[in-house]
Amino acid sequence: MRNVWIIIKREIGSYFATPLAYVFIVIFLALSGALAFFIGRFMSREQADLIPFFDYHPWLYLLLIPAIAMRLWAEERKTGTIENLMTLPVSTVEAVIGKFLAAWAFAGLALALTFPIWISVNILGDPDNGVILASYIGSLFMAGAFLAIGSCISALTKNQVIAFIISATVCFLFTMAGLELVLNFFRLWAPDLLVDTIASLSFLTHFNAVTKGVIELRDIIYFISMIAVWLLANVVAVDVRKAA
């Protein structure tokens, strides 16, 4: 655990040593606000809730999370520092978890900085703050799942652009799987079991369930197992290079 913490500290320090962190946070805040106000019609619909804000999170993450995740391993491979890192007395599991947690904490910080919109909605009306809290938690877990996918794919290449595009595509597929549009296509010919399986693998299905204000155990378990599976694949992706 000590090593994980040391790696988290180093990673976070390196986010803020470059403009990356600041650029990311500013763009995340600007985009999440713009989407909620202009496309989600946050004001004109005159409802005291944050649904127009959270509704766009999956699409925002689709663009921004792979941008954080792409550098996690690809950059180390490109600059050769992976040779330094992996010859320090650290296990692969510790390195993978440390890097992931650092990126997740960073995404969490960006998410937390959207608090002015929560204050606004409380000034303007009387929202259900329980639902809002649940939505924030759900959004954080969804960001974690996106990150785990991105981290794993980043370990497969030393090219950050490739890592970004493939991660975004995989995340897109996992998100889209829950849209009625996609499910209807499968309903035409596939058995119900398959349709349900596809829907149950979708970020949207689980995220929408959480933003309704009900944090159900299975939704949280879904996101945690997504993170666990992709991080496990990440460990394998790093280790497999040793024997290759």
Binding site: I6, G80, N84
Partner: protein, 321 residues
């Protein structure tokens, strides 16, 4: 002799390419082993296996009694490793980078500060401690990498081309450091700079095509040079031809060449052989009343040995096997 590094039939294949081919050897405490070989000989791959970055396809590598595959963390604790090109995190400062390394190596508080300060002082990094590493000169970057490798005073130190690309003064600094640490460590450095071997190594291993081709002290390898112990003689210019014929009649001496030395003097060159010792040749010439003005015993060049051994490796022959 306690073996700090033990390689046993170590083999590494990348697909069809065999990068390291059945290498067995041991390195003991107090040895500074120069790992020589042309580019692509398998030096880096061998070092990456010992440091735990790659796993062998076949065979084992043991460091201080710990198998690199079975107990990687135990091995990594005991090794200081400087990868080729000394990659470091460019956005960190030497201070924060060395602090990170110290923590990962298990040092806290006072001990951490002491370790970092000691490494900083050894490498002379005081002036650049708070500058991002990516803005430093190549020499400083290399020194930061070096500081990282020796921070925990490891029993085994492995350095992949530590002086490559450094200026002569920086090379001297690195060599002095290696020399100072040599007594209680097992040190392996790879290089293709042959002068470096003479400067710091007390043992040389040559590999090419992934195979171990020669192993010995720098002097013993030098003795394998084609013209090691050849004789150079200077006689009066008008007696050169007579001297040449006389030497040619001696048993076991086939050809005597005349060579012009850099200062313009005409020299007779007797290739090495059992009869080619100074006493015999000079005595024979004196008997003919040819005065020998100067005798030089040629010393073999590591370059020649390197060429003879490694150039043959392409078609898998080993003239010294």
């Amino acid at each position: 002799m306690s073996a700090m590094i033990e390689l046993d039939h170590l083999t590494k294949a990348f697909g069809a390419l065999v990068a390291v081919d059945d290498i067995s050897m041991t390195v003991a405490r107090g040895e500074v082993l120069g790992f020589l070989g042309p580019n692509g000989a398998g030096k880096s791959t061998t070092m990456k296996i010992v440091s735990g970055f790659l796993e062998p396809t076949f065979g084992t590598a043991t460091v201080c009694g710990h198998n690199v595959v079975a107990e990687p963390v135990a091995v990594k604790r005991r090794i200081g490793y400087l990868p080729e090109g000394a990659p470091t995190y460019g956005d960190m400062t030497p201070m924060s980078y060395l602090g990170f390394i110290a923590e990962i190596r298990g040092y806290d508080g006072v001990e951490k500060r002491r370790r970092v300060e000691a490494a900083v002082e050894k490498l002379g990094l005081e002036r650049v401690l708070r500058q991002p590493i990516e803005t430093l000169s190549k020499g400083y970057k290399r020194r930061v990498g070096f500081a990282q490798a020796i921070l925990h005073d490891p029993e085994v130190l492995i350095m992949d081309e530590p002086t490559d690309g450094l200026d002569p003064n920086q090379k001297r600094l690195v060599r002095t450091l290696i020399h100072d640490m040599a007594a209680d460590k097992a040190i392996v450095i790879s290089t293709h700079i042959l002068e470096e071997v003479d400067a710091v190594c007390n043992r040389v291993v040559m590999i090419a095509g992934g195979r171990l081709l020669a192993d010995g002290t720098p002097d013993s390898l030098r003795a394998r040079a084609r013209d090691h112990n050849a004789l150079l003689l200077r006689v009066a210019p008008d007696r050169v031809e007579a001297a040449r014929q006389k030497i040619g009649t001696l048993d076991g001496i086939e050809t005597v060449e005349t060579v012009t030395r850099r200062d313009g003097a005409l020299m007779l060159r007797v290739p090495p052989g059992p009869q080619a010792n100074a006493a015999t040749v000079v005595a024979a010439l004196n008997a003919e009343n040819i005065a020998v003005e100067e005798v030089v015993n040629e010393v073999g060049l590591l370059d020649d040995v390197f060429y003879d051994i490694t150039a043959h490796a392409a078609h898998r022959e080993n003239p010294y096997a």
